[in-house]
Symmetry: C2
Subunit: 424 residues, 2 copies
């Protein structure tokens, strides 16, 4: 096979006819396949369902003298703080253990900045003329939507193989209206990039003009290798503290992809000073989160080592799915020179960069053939990819056989879109 750009017009026409014929056959199957969202599959859920059978008798619900069934302990069970501190490498006193979603903790702490102001704010952000926010992209659509929903101006920072473009970040944070930055430091969504030590060092030692700058550190995939051994990560709280930025960082994690996506436990880790300021504000919003579910997780996951063992069992389920996608891309697309992708070893996504100007068209073709994908552009602020190129592939939910069908259709769609662009 030769590259599409090296083909003659006639060769491209022939290729187009051949691919189109194959695509029409796939379409005729009337399939309904979904590679849209980073959901664990049924096999993974079944594997951890014993979590729900771990607390049975009334006495099982008592932990460190606290009755998990009753009100109280808005910042979480002490045992749950210890579990997350073990996993994240921070101190239990820095952990705020919440409900079933770390996204809600992220939203809520930004909402508090907006409605009440943070520890080092002059006033609530709602009283400011303008708030700007740094968005490394491609990135996580739900992050961008949170800050957009508060009317902030989202500034795109390009992602590199080492993390966000730090020269650009260091220039932008000189503007006091720039109040924060999203990060998924390990196996970034969607590219699977792991921030380099150097990137992390530069981030931890930033000197933003805004005294209440929020370094949002969504460590969503901190223990989520699907290939190879666990990759240790630095404790961002310590690194920031060493650089005089103790109150700048808010780290998040959850068990959404360890136990249940809909019924896991989320955590926010931040300085004790930040917690002393925030916990009373959060305590106005709620009397407390679900401590029974926290206790289930404490007893089921036990500690970091035991949790990593469970993650290896998840990896065994996920690995063939990622291979099905990556192998198809290697085989079908690589020789054609019409797209590029990284080869992640953790996280929940594969990020595909199509020939510029063809992502939307390729996904429209996918949809016609019954394959639902995350919308083109979703990985950029405001849902607009200026190059119309990035596509997020989520291989985790479908069984392998469905995934193979879906990625085969996807490959034909990006081929057709590229050929149309090049002229056929």
């Amino acid at each position: 096979m030769i590259k599409y750009t090296d083909m003659t017009a006639q060769q491209r026409k022939a290729e187009y006819s051949a691919v189109l014929a194959d695509y029409e056959k796939q379409k005729a199957l009337g399939l309904k396949l979904n590679m849209a969202r980073g959901k664990p599959g049924k096999e993974q859920l079944d594997m951890v369902t014993d979590l729900c059978n771990i607390l049975v008798k009334p006495e099982d619900f008592i932990c460190d003298g606290i009755d998990s069934r009753n009100y109280g302990n808005v910042d979480g069970l002490p045992a749950a703080k210890e579990l997350f501190a073990d996993i994240l490498g921070c101190k239990p006193e820095q952990c705020f253990v919440g409900g079933n979603a770390s996204l809600q903790l992220m939203y809520d702490v930004i909402a508090k900045a907006y409605t009440n102001g943070l520890l080092h704010s002059d006033k609530p952000w709602s009283k400011l003329e303008k708030v700007k926010w740094l968005c490394p992209a491609p990135g996580y659509d739900r992050h961008f939507k949170v800050t957009a929903s508060f009317g902030m101006e989202l500034i795109t920072v390009p992602m590199t193989a080492y993390g966000p473009d730090m020269d650009m970040v260091e220039a932008l944070i000189k503007d006091p209206a720039v109040k924060g930055m999203w990060n998924v430091p390990k196996y970034s969504n969607p590219e699977g990039v792991v921030y380099s030590d150097e990137t992390i060092r530069r981030i931890a030692s930033m000197k933003p003009a805004a005294p209440d700058f929020m370094l949002m550190w969504d460590n969503a995939y901190c223990i989520h290798e699907f290939e190879g051994a666990f990759v240790p990560f630095a404790d961002i709280l310590s690194l920031c503290a060493e650089n005089g930025n103790a109150d700048m960082v808010y780290e998040f994690a959850s068990t959404s992809k360890v136990t249940f996506p809909g019924a896991g436990v989320g955590v926010m880790a931040t300085s004790e000073k930040n917690l002393a300021y925030l916990v009373p504000l959060i305590n106005i919003q709620t009397i407390g989160f679900d401590k029974i579910n926290q206790l289930r997780h404490v007893k089921y996951l036990q500690n970091k080592e035991h949790t990593l063992a469970l993650m290896r069992r998840h990896a065994a389920i996920l690995r063939p799915k990622f291979h099905a996608v990556l192998d198809a891309l290697d085989r079908e697309i690589a020789p054609l020179g019409i797209g590029s992708w990284r080869r992640p070893v953790g996280g929940y996504f594969v990020s595909y960069d199509a020939m510029p100007g063809t992502a939307k068209r390729a996904l429209a073709l996918c949809k016609e053939a019954g394959v639902t994908m995350t919308g083109a552009g979703a990985t950029f602020p405001y849902g607009v990819d200026p190059r119309d190129s990035n596509i997020r592939i989520a291989p985790t939910l479908p069984p392998v056989e469905e995934l193979e069908q879906a990625i085969a259709i996807f490959c034909n769609c990006v081929k057709l879109a590229a050929l149309e662009k090049l002229g056929v």
Copy 2:
């Protein structure tokens, strides 16, 4: 016994000495008793703990084709909507079923008004000069704190035996800056007042100047009789709709005092138009609430009738506790003419009105003797009771024998405070 006000100075001195001697004996016991918060007791929690053993095998977690373990369904499981619609008398489509706390749903919908505006708002409330809020008092401290945390001006509306003073409410809502009103319509916190049909009719037909007025209808104790038969209540959503106020009302309920305070399920019921506006905003905050816990509740509570049967078992546990408190007040305080209280048949509190100017002193004496009570003033906006009179008694948590000790100490404390006030 004669009334303290009818006593001579000498009689009061003698009484003071006698009560003080008894109080000192109680103090010497070094007790630690708590009548501060409306928490269910251990016996109640043990009674419902089987809730956690209802979902066991993977297939148990599927409901109406939805896997409760995975992401999705931000507005709740359809079966959970049906359960709450049955209990509240509204339509399932009007129910938003959330996480473990209805307080969080209340906070969040007001937060959305503040950060984004509501369906009929001209702009987000954070952009307004002034927002005022009506607070029937005595009322629930956590309600008042929510609206105070957004910088609103809280306006006290006196409670009567029939609900809030509606003449005053109807006058106040002519001010377009008045944006909402708290209500606990059945067994109000703390007095146990049930709003009369006439009060509810006047509320449902209000014509507030603010187009985005929020009638916050916290039906926290809608099925929480501890004495006598279940008292039916009107569907406030229908009543408001009949009066052209369909989008004015937000009703809340939860299973915090049906199953677990810390791990129940909360619901917000409001117009379908309001939900169509709010759900996408809430979906920015979270991917979804804990559907596993929703499903547990659906299977355990089943429907309204079955839930009412469970509430009768709660009532059997609670009744002796309320009797212990009310009987002591009848016996010890009623003849002295130094306090007044209602005799609730549902809810979680007894509200005691001490001789004006003595509530704080009485509670300080309680504290000295090891009895923790809700702080004086807590039942009023900003925590300030202008008459320093109202005290909230929460009899539900302690076992009956502890409660009898605690209320005996309480009676001595209000006697001492009254005698000090009258002069001894």
